[in-house]
Amino acid sequence: MNSQQPLLEGRDVYKFFGGLAAVNGVDFAVYPGEIVGLIGPNGSGKTTLFDCLTRLQSIDRGQIFFKGQEITHARPYQVARMGLARTFQVIRVYRKMTVLENMLISRQWRGEGLLDMLRPSHPDTERRARELIRFLQIEHLTDELAGHLSGGQRRLLEIGMALMPDPDILLLDEATSGINPTLIEIIKDRIRTLNREQGKTFLLIEHNINFIADLCSRVYVLNFGEKLAEGAPEEIMENEAVIEAYFGA
């Protein structure tokens, strides 16, 4: 596609749980500025692949590269600091803290010394947090406890928290699941804006095919941990093997 180097790349990735291959020899690449989709039936290994990419799980074989550097054995926090952010299927926010506090704690951590850590935080951080809260249209909830938000609002907060460190790539795991259509449109719109105006790259796990079709330029399909198909959304949706995987025997 692009002649440039992939931003995030996996080569021949294998992940076994006992005898089961959750990820069975997957090759893929995401180039800077793309919005790429990752779909497949339940249990096809999508979230496991995400876990491997973000280094929450170790892979058994293969290599992972981010910005040209091999991260196969890096610690998750190191990968995060390099510019990779992620959301989870089950939303992880700090429920006992306010929306603003959640954003503040998600700021860019660059390994400060102990002395820096003993100070309260920087005003720039707060400015950025408030900007992002406004960007995600949850400004009215700034001082609300995260635990009191609705599912959709929490999802937006989680995306905001992922954006705080100004990542180069965002991995969103089922960002639209259980969300009402209005919020889905907001999320879609925000992703487009971030992609066009700031060149952010996205890799999206989704079950919502329309969402994928509207946003993604390329889609990977996984089934039983293997790459079943790869291509533009239109091609994928007409691919017989894909249809069979989703609906077939």
Partner: protein
């Protein structure tokens, strides 16, 4: 209220009020001995200071970071034995008074160093496994000390020269307690404190947001160990005799857990409150049931867990706390 939000600035009183009150209390306590009290009253007060310090320390790793340490008293013991060994086996200075002051920070360092060594494997474990691993460390250390007879005096223990008197014991612990609680107060408001709480609330999420959770956990653990070791070293001096069974008693480790639980895990003022309550219960109420008081402690723990997991301040809705209940629910989220 948080110190992170600066534009929505809570009033000056809110932010510094706690510390100001604490300093005032310290001042009053500093004057107290001059009001003509007996040595035994000072001794009692010193014991309370010891408990408050231990509770606040434990709270750093147990309440704020969420790693419930069931064997934290091992650091107390290491501190006590470091002091004992340094003073009796290693002539450090020319007079016993100087030895105390020289050995004291060393005792703390030994404890902190051990925290580093044992923390690296154990802090990788989830909730209850960490708790048990530390309990195991505590139990094992008692036996290891007994085995290393040539260095530690084994079962017969070590005698230290009596040097301190009630008054300077009082002031020493007053100062240490004041320092430790103020430090916890400061940590709680700082970024370090928020990182620890983030680790407690969602360690995976914290790691995914670029926080080096290992380093933070280890540092909190080492700080908690350091001061606990110093208290242990002080205790050795005060008691003038140490042996494995006198130093490594389950009671100490249970007390540490219970004081924070009772007062409110993760809060700054909860553990000190819990310490005072526990002392009151043990000394005044149970003093009458002399033989049963340790048994009653065990029963209290059971009742506490079943019926008051929030602790006192937690129940009053202190938003900075985590109740034991929430800690349990969060730990339970990873349950198989």
């Amino acid at each position: 209220m948080s110190a992170l939000t600066q534009t929505a600035r809570p009033s000056l009183l809110r932010r510094w009020g706690g510390l100001a009150l604490w300093l005032l209390l310290l001042l009053l306590l500093a004057i107290y001995p001059y009001t003509g009290v007996t040595g035994s009253t000072l001794f009692t007060a010193t014991q309370v200071f010891v408990l408050v310090t231990l509770a606040s320390n434990w709270n750093l790793i147990g309440g704020m970071t969420g790693y419930v340490d069931f064997g934290h008293a091992v650091f107390f013991g290491l501190g006590a034995y470091s002091m004992g060994i340094l003073v009796t086996r290693v002539p450090l200075a020319f007079s016993p008074e100087l030895s105390f002051w020289q050995a004291l920070p060393l005792a703390g360092l030994v404890a902190a160093l051990f925290a580093l060594i044992i923390g690296l494997p154990t802090l990788r474990l989830k909730g209850p496994y960490f708790s048990i691993a530390m309990l195991g460390t505590f139990v094992a250390m008692r036996e290891i000390i007994r085995i290393l007879r040539p260095i530690t005096g084994g079962g017969t223990g070590l005698d230290l020269p009596p040097v301190l008197n009630r008054v300077n014991e009082y002031y020493f612990m007053l100062g240490l307690m004041g320092l430790v609680v103020a430090l916890i107060w400061w940590i709680r408001r700082s970024e370090f404190g928020y990182t620890l709480i983030a680790i407690r609330e969602d360690e995976i999420g914290a790691e995914m947001r670029g926080i080096n959770t290992t380093v933070h956990k280890i540092i909190a653990f080492m700080i908690a160990a350091f001061f606990t070791g110093i208290v242990g070293a002080f205790w050795a001096w005060q008691n003038t005799y140490i042996d494995p069974d006198v130093v490594f008693i389950e009671q100490r480790t249970v007390e540490m857990v219970m004081m924070s639980m009772l007062g409110g895990l993760g809060t700054v003022w909860g553990p000190p409150l819990g310490a005072v309550v526990i002392y009151f219960l043990q000394d005044v109420v149970w003093g009458n049931l002399l033989n049963f008081h340790l048994m009653a402690l065990g029963i209290l723990l059971i009742l506490l867990v079943l019926f008051l997991p929030e602790g006192i301040l937690g129940s009053l809705g202190d938003p900075s706390s985590t109740s034991l209940g929430r800690l349990l629910r969060r730990a339970g989220r990873g349950r198989e």
